[in-house]
Amino acid sequence: MAEVQRRKERLDRGIKVRAESIYAVSSWEEAAYLLAPRIILVLGLLLAPLLVQSPYWKRVVTVVCVYGLLGLSFDFLAHFVGLVSLGGALATGVGGYASALANKALGLPVFLSIPLASLAGGVVCTVLLLPCLPLRGVYFAIVTLMYPLVLSRLVEAFNILGGTDGIPGVQGFGGPWAESYIIISALLLCLFGLRRLVNEDLGLILRGVKDNDQAVKASGISVTRYKAIAVFIASTLGCLAGAYLAHLYMWAGLSLFALDFSILPIAATVIGGGGTLVGAVVGSMILVPLSELLREFGTLRIAFYALVLMGFIVVRSEGLMVWAQRKYHQFERWVQI
């Protein structure tokens, strides 16, 4: 007579519980459970240039990593600090030009110009974005949206930094292996570095700023200062991507401020799963090859990214990696009430 009422219950998997903290080394299964996904990712990225035959697709692999870096920067800012950056192109542009200048005007070799450009570019971007840091999120989005457009106008107008011709003759990497592995190792370092960072003290403060900035302020911590640090980290990553691109194509120009560099990381993060830094990388692994295949359709590919974004928002989807992580760590079952 009684109606059977059921609800869905979600529990951590046994293996997850068993692999917590020190017990992870108690047996091979637990260690593998924790290490397997990470090893697959690292090995996959490291082996990718070897497995892919045509030089064209090798180039696509490096572009995936570049957009992966940009996506990391966006994800970090949006989901760990609460600042939505609609202008990733700002960082690519600043970093690319900085690196070209360092290489040509200062005569520094590639291995010095890229790190220098990333750090210097990070400082420049942070200074540019400083006025809107004490304010709430929407201002940051608006200002980052505008900066790439205006900066490219300025370069054109004042005819500085090579104007519309750009800065040609930037030093290359001297070999496809160097090209691929420099960016892959940079991506892996940044990915795992950021993951570590968000669990350190600095990361916790930043996450606190995202959740409730008034509480952080009430604890006597300067919110603006920490936001500035976060913006510096994120724009350094973006500038690294830009500097790398300048050396990859041996040329730095206005197109480093292109809309592509702003939109694709956003779409990649949403698809891959926001809040899990690896999601941005996975997202760009999906989107970049897709965009190459869609090259015939011209600008329709940006419409396509936008449509995918809209689809995800309508379905209120959490993203690939969030879903995957949930499935990996937890299981669901029906339970009678």
Partner: protein, 288 residues
Amino acid sequence: MEIIVYGIVNSVSLALMALGFTLVYGISRLPNFAHGAFYILAGYLAWVGIRSLNMGYIVSVLLTILVVGILGMAMYRFFLIRVRGMPISEIIASYAMGLFILEALRWKGLKGMTFTLPVIYPGTIFLFDVPVDYQRLLVVAIGAGIVAGLWLFTKFTRLGLALRGIAQDEQAAMMLGIDSDAMATVATGLGSALAAVAAIVLLPLGNIVVEAGYQVLIFAVAVCIVGGLGSWAGAILASFIIGFAQILTVSYMQSHFQVVVALLAIILTLIAKPSGLFGRQKQLEERV
């Protein structure tokens, strides 16, 4: 003299572009980044009606305003409502929608000089020895008319008063039985319709190209930030300030500073008085 005449025209143009955006933000705190997209979409639909389907000017224009208004309402009701209250997602969502519309139109070929809208009344008159065409005069007239109309609407009609109520204090308005979501839908529809009117009046002065969509968005945002997000008087004052600043830079310096003026205005406002000239949103500041 030229500067005054063309300065006024430019300022009213900016105000027309920005009114829709500031309306939506003022009422439902929703930054509608698809504003520029609706502007260009309206231009395109009007073009289809007038040139392609030959439906006659008045019919096409009225139909366009109606369709774009309804699209705006639909965008809110079926799409943005799902991310209400999550600021990051709101921004990304409306930006994605705007991007989709603009890039799809660009793919369809909305560039170059082929797409133009006819002026409402052709001809030029000489005002104080400054040649001004009738279309520009109509821009000023229609702009003034719209502002007056909006003011009357929000002061004397039930719907307008309800919108003002939600803008002033959402909780209190809800307690009085005003449905916040319904008002937001109406506001978005109204904002989009205003974008459509702006398009129909301003696009005949140029071509219908997708770049104009991004430009309109930037100008609308600049005007709203300088004037204070959510304040209509502020938006109008800000559009005059920025409008005249632009004309002055074009006359006395090189014209590539035009867009820079908008950015500088934003940065200066954010540094000096973040809530804008007449802004009431003091909680947006959290200066430490």
